[in-house]
Each structure stands twice: as structure tokens, then as C-alpha cells.
């Protein structure tokens, strides 16, 4: 009988990889973590994700699953006995998928545009990023988690970005606490979970990483 072999290809700073780590932790799944160097991708990565050549990739018993939102749903379906992440009602499931899709469409791209622009353009993207977070705060409403009473798919999808908030605040010259206090309260609730706090990188290390990437881009 084949052992349950789980391997995760990722990079320490990737918010998408963090989603998978949190999901695996929620389910109590043992896995091997392989850190990739994106400037020198391993043959395993190129073999397992030949189309996009991106991380994260989950390799379960030798078979790859790509795209963090798809991976988290896969994990939820395979290890269904514990900590369900998706709601059971089809409409609620559609809403959960919608909001993770929204996060994927908006947060990284907008923050990157803000990060790389100056003057009026920068101001536009800065405002846009804040409005994205305000929208996400509105979606949360008065619920303790996006999943309602329990930590769920959208919570995993968004908390993975938390280590980047500090960098967003510096580059965007705003305070998340002032703009989205309810969202910050939600962050604190999530951080009480070991599965989250143990899998998020240090925000200052993320900032140093962002600064280094920015300098590298400016030198090109």
C-alpha cells in the first residue's frame, strides 16, 4: 500500500504557498517542504508544472496539483474528515470561491502597480488598494470569520497576505488599522490559530525582501 506522500514546492515569501501550508496544517497533514529558487527552478518544478513553471505545487503520491486556490480545495476534499474549509451549501460555496477569486484578481496586482509607480499613478493605485481591502472588510461584516463561526476557505485565502500588510502600509503610506479596523480585528483572531501564526513569515523580513526585489527591478 502506497504511503500518503505529500510534497510542497514553494518559496518562503509567497502568499500563495502560505495558503497551502495553512490548509495542510489545519488538516494535520504531514508533508515535505521544498524551497524553490525561482531564478533557478528545479527540474521537479518544471516537470510538475510545465505550463506555468510556478509555485506552489502540491505533489500528492507523485501527482501534481497547481494553483493555490485549486490546491486548497483539493486538500479540503481529500482530507475531508477534519476542519472543513469549504461551506456545505452550494450558494455559500459559490460565494467563498467568488471572494478568493476576487482576492486573486485584485490584491497582488494592485499592490504591485502601487509599488512600482510614482506620482498620480501611484496615488490612483494606492486608493484602489485601500478600496479593495475596504470591500473585503465589508464582505466579512460582523462575522468572526469569512467562514462564519469557523475558519474557512476565504480566511485561508486572505490571511496568507497578512505578512505583506506591513509593506503595503509603508509603500502606500496608510495604516490598515485606521482604514479597516474590523479587518485588523479579524487578523488578530486568525493569528490566535497556531496553524496561521506558525506559517506566516516575519513582516519585516518580507519588507526587506520587497525592497531587494524593487532595487533589482530598478537596476534592470
Amino acid at each position: 500500500r502506497m504511503a500518503n506522500e505529500v510534497v510542497l514546492l514553494e518559496t518562503w515569501a509567497s502568499m500563495y504557498g502560505i495558503r497551502v501550508r495553512i490548509a495542510l496544517a489545519e488538516k494535520g497533514v504531514k508533508y515535505e517542504c521544498k524551497e524553490e529558487n525561482l531564478r533557478n527552478k528545479s527540474s521537479l518544478l518544471l516537470q510538475m508544472n510545465p505550463i506555468h513553471k510556478k509555485i506552489p505545487v502540491l505533489i500528492h503520491n507523485g501527482k501534481p496539483i497547481c494553483d493555490s486556490a485549486i490546491i486548497v480545495q483539493y486538500i479540503d476534499e481529500v482530507w475531508s474528515h477534519k476542519a472543513p474549509l469549504m461551506p456545505s451549501d452550494p450558494y455559500e460555496r459559490a460565494q467563498a470561491r467568488f471572494w478568493v477569486d476576487y482576492i486573486d484578481k485584485k490584491v497582488y496586482d494592485t499592490s504591485r502597480k502601487m509599488w512600482l509607480s510614482t506620482g498620480e499613478e501611484h496615488e490612483t493605485w494606492r486608493k484602489e488598494l485601500i478600496s479593495v481591502f475596504k470591500q473585503l472588510e465589508e464582505t466579512l461584516g460582523d462575522k468572526p470569520f469569512y467562514g462564519g463561526d469557523t475558519f474557512g476557505f476565504v480566511d485561508v485565502g486572505l490571511i496568507s497576505f497578512y505578512s505583506w500588510f506591513y509593506s503595503f502600509e509603508i509603500y502606500g503610506n496608510f495604516k490598515m488599522e485606521a482604514e479597516c479596523p474590523k479587518l485588523v480585528a479579524w487578523v488578530k483572531r486568525c493569528m490566535q490559530r497556531e496553524t496561521v501564526s506558525k506559517n506566516l513569515p516575519d513582516e519585516k523580513e518580507i519588507y526587506d525582501h520587497a525592497e531587494a526585489s524593487k532595487k533589482a527591478l530598478e537596476l534592470k
Binding site: H52, D67, Q95, R97
Partner: protein
């Protein structure tokens, strides 16, 4: 006792809305079709999809009547769902007849991955190849070719992506079957050479001749006119 009402808000030529129509028809779900002009959006659409302001939107309304002898308590729920692939999964989970998604989690993940990957890669490259010329078009055609080669590997030996029957991935990629030939004509280019891609070509024929699919296609001459206009607008926008 439940009274359900299903409405689809869509724009006639949208390949995204077409997916939703196919899912509903394959499952024999009765629905009302509401045409939206995406160049002049209704207030209702903006209310139903305030985040993206786009079609398609599926609205599922349910009136739950109380059982006999209970206190009257009518629950009327309007549930709008946006984003075509999310809508298709919702339909698959709500109406169990004619299952679209595979059952095994790995096959499910595989189908989901291919649906979004092809949309990202071929949707974008195809649009540019249709609407641009010269070097830009050539570059787009190369990108399109890369992903089409992968799709050919994927369909090899199968009647449909779903196997013997149309499945989720066929519904997700079905736009290729009827839209790519139109784009090829409008852009005076060829993306899917039958001899080079026999698998995909065969799949396109099978898909378009399926009894549920064949009467759902927008009129070809109307599509040609629409995309010619889009190409002209795109060319004019980029004129130096």
C-alpha cells in the same frame, strides 16, 4: 414545497455566458434568459454584480412555502452568482442530473486547472491574434500555438475532455469550438490547423454537433460583424 426561479443575465455573444447556458441545458434546468447590453449596462445588473459589473450573472430565487398547518413564513431568497466557472460549479452542485465535474479530487483539480489556464493563455492570445496585425499578431499566434499543443495532448484518445460524455472541461473550453473559427476569419489567420491538431479538430466537431449544444450557438454572421467591429476599434485605438 418549493418554487424555484432561475434567471440568467447575459450578453448574446459572451463565451462566458455560453458556458452557463450549456450547463443549464445539459441538466435540463428551466431558466429565463435576460439579455444585457454590456455597452449600456442596466441598473439591475449593477445591483446583481456590484463588484465586477459583468455578465453572466445567475440568479436563483427560491420561495419556500410553509408545510400545512404551520405558521405562515414565506422565505424568499434571491441568490445572485457571478463568474462563469463559479456559476457552472454551483449549477453542478445544485442540480445533480448529468454530473459535470469528475468525482475524484485529483481529476477535479485537473479539470479546474485546465479551465482557468486555457482561458488565461488562449483567451488572451486568441483575442490579440484576432484584433491586431503584424508583429503583435505573430507573437500572439506563437503563444496560442504553445497552449494549443498542450490541449491537443490533453484531448488525445478522448471523444470529449469529460470522456464519453461532455463534462466540466468541455463546457469550460467549448468557446474554442465555435469562437476560434470566427476569430480566425476576422483576423485572417489560422490557430487550429486540422492536420496539425486532429484531436482538437475532432473534438470541436463532436462538441458542436452534440444535440444539446448545436442549437445554442450565436448566428455566425452576427458574430463576424461583432468581432470585425471589435477589431476595427482595436486597430483605431492603437493607431499612431
Amino acid at each position: 414545497m418549493e418554487n424555484e426561479d432561475v434567471k440568467l443575465f447575459n450578453f448574446w455573444v459572451s463565451p462566458f455566458g455560453k458556458r452557463v447556458e450549456w450547463a443549464l441545458k445539459l441538466k435540463d434546468v428551466k431558466y429565463d434568459y435576460v439579455e444585457e447590453d454590456i455597452f449600456n449596462k442596466s441598473n439591475l445588473l449593477l445591483q446583481l454584480n456590484p463588484v465586477h459589473k459583468k455578465v453572466p450573472v445567475l440568479v436563483y430565487s427560491c420561495v419556500q412555502l410553509p408545510p400545512p398547518f404551520a405558521v405562515p413564513n414565506i422565505v424568499h431568497a434571491h441568490k445572485p452568482i457571478a463568474e462563469s466557472l463559479i456559476i457552472v460549479e454551483y449549477i453542478d452542485e445544485t442540480w445533480k442530473h448529468y454530473p459535470l465535474l469528475p468525482r475524484h479530487p485529483h481529476h477535479k483539480a485537473h479539470a479546474r486547472f485546465w479551465a482557468t489556464t486555457v482561458e488565461q493563455k488562449l483567451g488572451k492570445a486568441g483575442w490579440v491574434a484576432m484584433s491586431r496585425s503584424g508583429e503583435e499578431q505573430e507573437k500572439a499566434l506563437k503563444e496560442a500555438n504553445d497552449i494549443i499543443e498542450k490541449i491537443e495532448e490533453e484531448i488525445k484518445g478522448k471523444k470529449y475532455f469529460g470522456g464519453e460524455n461532455i463534462g466540466y472541461l468541455d463546457v469550460a473550453l467549448g468557446w474554442i469550438a465555435y469562437l476560434v473559427p470566427v476569430w480566425e476569419e476576422v483576423g485572417s489567420m489560422k490557430m487550429i490547423e486540422p492536420l496539425k491538431f486532429p484531436g482538437i479538430t475532432s473534438w470541436m466537431t463532436n462538441f458542436l454537433s452534440h444535440p444539446v449544444i448545436k442549437d445554442t450557438l450565436p448566428p455566425r454572421d452576427k458574430m463576424l460583424l461583432y468581432y470585425h467591429n471589435r477589431r476595427n476599434n482595436s486597430q483605431n485605438l492603437h493607431k499612431v
